[in-house]
Point group: C2
DNA sequence: CTGTTAGCGCATTCAG
DNA sequence: CTGAATGCGCTAACAG
């Protein structure tokens, strides 16, 4: 076997041409005679030649690497987005480096910095709340970036997502329209999570405008256990709610679990509204009414934005996706 | 602001020393005077210097990049593993490029090749069934690789996971011990999935040795809908099973859903055993009895293997993790 | 302990 | 259409 890995010069030697020509063939430069092109390809194959990406990047300043920093891969909503993002980028030969920040924007900064070191040409971030240093770094290096799960963007950045305030309002409106007036929210941790903050604020605003005060707003981690504990807290209060808006289907499932344990009828005694439209929403009893979040689509559209030419990107800066209420069995009209 | 990005020479100039010294400081070479070290660090900060990873890699042949090729990120079991893998690697300054292959080993080969181009120093793969070209490429380039979700490895490769045959046997044994004799399996697609094949084979072997024939083995995609459809097929047969082993909790949840719709009591009329121990197993009614798969741990251990020195790796080649049966409400003794 | 000298492997000028 | 020459930004020898 080859003792050492073949380099571009080796391919050139074997194909009987110059390195420059090999380079042209490898980069699909059309003005190379077909006969030579084939010889080169054959030689490359014979030598199991694999181009050196670092050398390419160093020379051409095009890395074909994109980066993403998300809170965690352990939540289906982010994993689904990464799945479609990667698929689309991969189709176009762009590799994706994924980093998780645990909802910590300082950590996010470090990760972005590392991505810049790696030569990432474009970066996907979640939400619109980031350290100024993060944005400054990206802008200074002229790296394209997109915020996802939000419609808020910087002057020159882009956003693909939905309006979280509207989402909160939509949830409140639906529950209000069902005739509920004792409504609580079991949201996600708002610390360093601007999406959760906006949803909560939108929710409260809609209620207030309707002349109803949110009974209480509790925060819990996006875990089943958090939803269960939060629901207990809510239902053990003096005046328990008749409807609860949960920040995630995971939390809603936990809330539902608490109700089942306590033999509290859902939606008879209390309506539960989820968020995300995860697959689990169809598995619970009753099935969850929820707000569908277009995670897959965000991944695909973020990829399209990053793959577009700078000129085209201008027209794709802010992409607001619509939210859809998925009505199933966990909500019902307030008994009067 | 700086019109162009600062390079190492610029830092050297500003700090009043040679590029080599700057390089030493940046690489934590201890034999640099503290006074100079500080000057360099200050200069780097002032210039917002970010090292060029490609140049570094090209020169040093150390990339600090690892790759992973998994079937999909859209299944919690793989996402969880990637989450812990990335976290551990990231702690050590290693970036992770994730690619998905949709259970297609030809696609997997292309992805691995791309990772090699990118300079990945080590690669995580799922299962033990790969194209010979894939393994040949890795071995020729002397890239460390680990198989996960399996204990089968190549001569020089490593494996972190569990024995899928044993897993299948464990499932069969449990159901057999409950007194069932009409047992079916609703497994995953075995095409290009050696783990699913082994689990099925282990399951069948255990049954056969007990003198019981598996009633039928149906394959379905790892989706709720697949489980539901498969369960229907099973239960509408002439002699429906009294116990079903599902290849994933997702599938089991779908099977459970079918039973609920048909008012088939679980585990009264039929016991359902899942696999993976996903969070959803605790949300269904009844909760799922399942086999716990140590996804997180596999990610962490795979990272530890890849981060270890070649010498240490020898001692970590095959790491078999134990499987644990999590008994909950979806299984019961056969009525006699 | 620090500076000087050479490339790493490739893509891109510029000539032919 | 093709070849020769020139660095991209950095680190590893080697001297001092």
């Amino acid at each position: 076997m080859d003792n050492t890995d073949a380099k571009l010069v080796d391919v050139a030697r074997k194909a009987g041409c110059s390195p420059a020509t090999v380079s042209r063939v490898l980069n699909n430069n059309p003005k190379v005679a077909v006969s030579i092109r084939e010889k080169v390809l054959q030689a490359a194959m014979d030598l199991s030649y694999v181009p050196n990406g670092s050398a390419r990047t160093l020379r051409s300043t095009k890395s074909r690497i994109a980066g993403a920093v998300i809170p965690t891969l352990d939540h289906a909503i982010y994993a689904a987005m990464m799945n479609s993002l990667q698929a689309r980028l991969g189709d176009k030969g762009v590799s994706l480096i994924i980093n998780t920040s645990s909802y910590d924007i300082d950590m996010e900064y470090d990760q972005v910095r590392q991505l810049v070191e790696r030569g990432a040409e474009s970066i996907v971030l979640v939400g619109a709340a980031h350290r100024p240093e993060t944005i400054a770094l990206l802008e200074q290096r002229k790296i394209a970036y997109v915020f996802t799960y939000t419609t808020a963007a910087t002057q020159i950045g882009a956003a693909v997502g939905f309006d979280n305030r509207k989402a909160g309002r939509m949830a409140a409106r639906y529950l209000l329209d069902l005739g509920h007036s004792r409504i609580a929210m079991l949201g996600g941790i708002t610390d360093n999570n601007d999406r959760a903050v906006s949803r909560r604020d939108g929710f409260i605003a809609e209620m207030r405008e309707a002349g109803v005060d949110a009974l209480s707003v509790i925060e819990s981690a996006y875990r089943v256990e958090g939803g269960r504990a939060g629901m207990r807290q809510l239902m053990e209060a003096d005046k328990p709610p008749t409807a609860v808006f949960c920040g995630s289907d995971i939390v809603a499932a936990g809330a539902l679990k608490y109700c089942r344990e306590q033999r509290l009828s859902v939606p008879g005694a209390v309506s539960i509204l989820g968020f995300d439209n995860l697959e689990i929403g169809e598995l619970t009893t009753p099935e969850l009414t929820t707000v569908d979040v277009p995670a897959r689509e965000m991944g695909t559209l973020a990829a399209d934005y990053l793959l577009a030419t700078p000129a085209l990107r201008q027209h794709m800066r802010i992409r607001e996706l619509s939210l859809r209420l998925v009505v199933r069995g966990s909500t019902a009209a307030a008994s009067r």
